[in-house]
């Protein structure tokens, strides 16, 4: 009898978790929700996370359920003064519960390595943007095709939709981390080193990004936005920025590291 109760309880718990995850309920809404991707990289990362999350949740329910079952089933009962059978172990069981997780986990290795390689590559025909992290703002530079003054913008990044964008990440002071949760996971921005990452926005919109590595006093306020827009809008924004820059005579950002 108790078995049936427990399995029902487990099913209910699993249902609740699933319902919560998929309800789209407003308490889960966030402009930085990693489960609501708007770009190719973030979507792949969400999918691979789900690939492990569901088995992990299943194992969790199984283990916690079994634990609860054991506690109820084998509790000391009033008046029972006898001692239980003194079992010292079982080698077959030990081998089984060593091998079984190995097999299960081996299943995760190919997608993991595949994902690492995919994210580590440099896509061809990508738009290149230099990202500069400073305490506490972001400066973005779009190198000009003719090697002239790059177009710059602060705390606002514009990218064309459905195009690979490669970022070259530089820091002028301490370590930062470049992160737009709905578009892609983060990559650290480290002084004295150039890191790379790529993204591809697949939905037009404005997305929230934030420094993800503790970088001092105003770390929490080191935010920026990414505007994913049509190619035309992107080009006209670039022209507009370039014109504004010429007018003000704003110098190109010197990418000095340290002192």
């Amino acid at each position: 009898m108790r078995h049936r109760h427990l399995s029902r309880l487990a099913a209910l718990a699993a249902f609740l978790v699933a319902a919560l995850a998929f309800s789209g309920c407003s308490i889960f809404d966030s402009p930085q929700n990693t489960f609501a991707p708007a770009g190719e990289v973030a979507r792949d990362q969400k999918n691979i996370f789900f690939l492990t999350m569901w088995p992990a949740l299943a194992i969790l329910v199984l283990v916690e359920g079994l634990l609860l079952f054991i506690l109820l089933r084998f509790r000391h009962r009033e008046g029972d003064d006898g001692l239980p059978q003194q079992v010292h172990g079982n080698n077959k069981l030990e081998i089984a519960w060593t091998i079984a997780p190995v097999l299960l986990l081996a299943f995760f290795v190919p997608p993991t390595i595949g994902g690492i390689v995919d994210l580590g590559r440099t896509p061809k025909d990508a738009v290149v943007v230099d990202v500069n992290g400073l305490q506490w703002k972001w400066l973005f530079e779009y190198p000009a095709a003719d090697g002239g003054t790059p177009v710059q913008s602060a705390d606002e990044l514009h990218i064309p939709i459905n195009k690979n964008i490669t970022f070259r990440l530089h820091s002028a002071d301490v370590i930062h981390s470049f992160w737009v949760p709905k578009l892609a996971g983060k990559t650290d921005v480290i002084p004295g080193r150039e890191n790379h990452m790529w993204i591809k926005g697949t939905e037009i919109g404005t997305y929230s990004g934030q420094c993800a590595e503790f970088c001092g006093l105003d770390h929490a306020r080191m935010r920026f936005t990414v505007v994913v827009e049509s190619e035309e809008d992107y080009q006209s924004w670039l022209k507009q920025q370039a014109a504004a820059q010429d007018g003000s005579g704003q110098p190109a950002l010197a990418r000095t590291e340290g002192d």
């Binding site: 407003s26 402009p31 990693t34 792949d44 990362q45 996370f49 492990t52 992990a56 194992i59 283990v63 634990l67 054991i70 506690l71 084998f74 509790r75 000391h76 006898g82 001692l83 239980p84 059978q85 003194q86 079992v87 010292h88 172990g89 079982n90 030990e94 060593t98 986990l105 995760f108 290795v109 997608p111 993991t112 390595i113 994902g115 690492i116 580590g120 305490q135 301490v174 370590i175 981390s177 992160w179 949760p181 996971g185 983060k186 990559t187 650290d188 480290i190 002084p191 004295g192 929230s208 993800a212 590595e213 503790f214 970088c215 001092g216 006093l217 770390h219 929490a220 340290g258 002192d259």
Partner: protein, 638 residues
Amino acid sequence: MAGAGYAPKRVTMADALRQARENAGTYKGIWSWIGTVDHKRIGLLYGLTAFFFFLVGGIEALLIRLQLATPDATLLNPDQYNRIFTMHGTTMVFLVVMPLSAAFFNMVIPLMIGARDVAFPRMNAFSYWAFLFGGIFLNVSFFTGGNILRGELGAPDGGWFGYAPLTLNRFSPGNGIDFWMLGLQILGVASLAGGFNFVVTILNMRAPGMTLFRMPLFVWMTLVTSFLIIFAMPVIAVALFELSFDRLFDANFFNAAKGGTPLLWQHMFWLFGHPEVYILILPAMGIVSEVLPTFSRKPLFGYPFVVFSGVAIGFMSWGVWAHHMYTTGLGSVANSAFGVSTILISIPTGVKIFNWMATLWGGSIKFTTPLYFSVGFIAMFTIGGLTGVTHSIVPSDYQQQDTYYIVAHFHQVLFGGAMFGLFAGIYYWFPKFTGRMMHEGWGKLHFWIMFIGFNLTFQPMMILGLMGMPRRIQTYPDGYGYGFWNMMATVGAFMIASSILVFMYNVVRSLKKGEIAGDDPWDGRTLEWTIPSPPPAYNFAQIPQVHALDDFWHRKYAEDPKGRPIPVPAGASDHASHDEHADGHGIHMPSPSYFPLIAAAGLPLIATGLIYDMAIVAAGALVLLVGLYGWILEPATE
């Protein structure tokens, strides 16, 4: 003491010292504590001090939770917030979980292996004093930022992980980081002294007959932990020395502007930091492995497998450090290798969980408070382990790295795991060391409030992380959807805090009015339950002879061929000839000594001098030298 002669003898330094040592030997008064080399008293000092810091770190946690409870809060400004979260992490790791584990090593290990003390009793005292002074030194930094009453805090502000170059003078100009890096060095010395002491104690001082594979699991886990300490602390020491050179003498180890390498810090910090995680959790695993068999009234299932999985974890903990660094751009090959090694380390951890459950299986489980906390450990640590597996999936970890998902994960391991395990140990061994039982009702109330509060605090953090909330942010704007879950976490944190009040009440109450425990209140399995509660200074009137794993259990119960236990009739046991309650007359115990304290006092002086004035360094070195010199010349027993 005074002679009968009427020409009073001139009191020499040596006489004064002898007098002081005699006072200490009487086991009464404050001086007997200051000079003590008794492992039980040192263990108690460790425990009380660590618990005090637990309250300090807990108050810091509550301040963090209050600040984060609502969007755009201004209770703490960014500067205060950064210093407080840095001190919370540093305190909980170095001043709470590590020394609480050390308290258990001290109190329990000699009793479990049938020894009268540790191998190096004075080094043990030194270890405690260095820890105490290191902890005070770290916390004194709060007062160096100006007027603390106006909220001007001076504590370190670089996070417990202290990533360079944020910790260099240019980015953190006050003295906070100096106190942090030098304080951790002092604590490292304390840990190393303890580590060596327990390796030697366990290898050399076991009672006759206690082979390695007759050692209780807690002794095994202490041995593995001590080896990890011996190998891990020097790594952080080197990293901290390099940081000290950068800060104090303008070196450029981590200064990218001058060709230094910020990532070097991360490699060294995590090469220490990941074994450190297991330094924090293995002792709790050892405690749980003692508590579960006792209250299931069955031996530990698969003893050799639990031992070897612990040893395997110890070795493998050295090969996973870069999973803290996936996003630093190590490259695909390194990320793949560390992803796979992180997958692998979950296997011995899983083996342990299965064996604990199999220990409970088929038992006659007695639901005492220590059992509650041990089961809570398994339940919560399983979540910590499974979320740990998700970290090995590198591509998705690029999303979770440095978010509240990680904060949730390691609190599952270090609070849901380590702290629950340590509380199980406190309830389990309290009767042994005080002679009185803790109150079961209050104990279970403590458990339930803490268990519910814990889940309310840390499960929402998992959701917050997946919703994109980064760690270490002083606040977040409205409209990000973080307010609801953060408020829940804050309510949970205050529940945990109130459960600690219940615990403290229970301790005080039980010390006064607790039921008298007797030698063996739990029908225990290991040697500490063969001696009186509280144990006499010499522990064992006669050193026991060990014949089996769970020796004491086998003195009480024999097994028939089918594995069913039969009580051994009183007096029939071949061990009964031991007279455990002899008065211990004539047993020579190591004499008390003040020199470990003096030597340890030199360390914070040297550290203070490095920050403020080299003359104080010289004074500190002199104190250290006097302490060591006296220590060497002092006879071990009189």
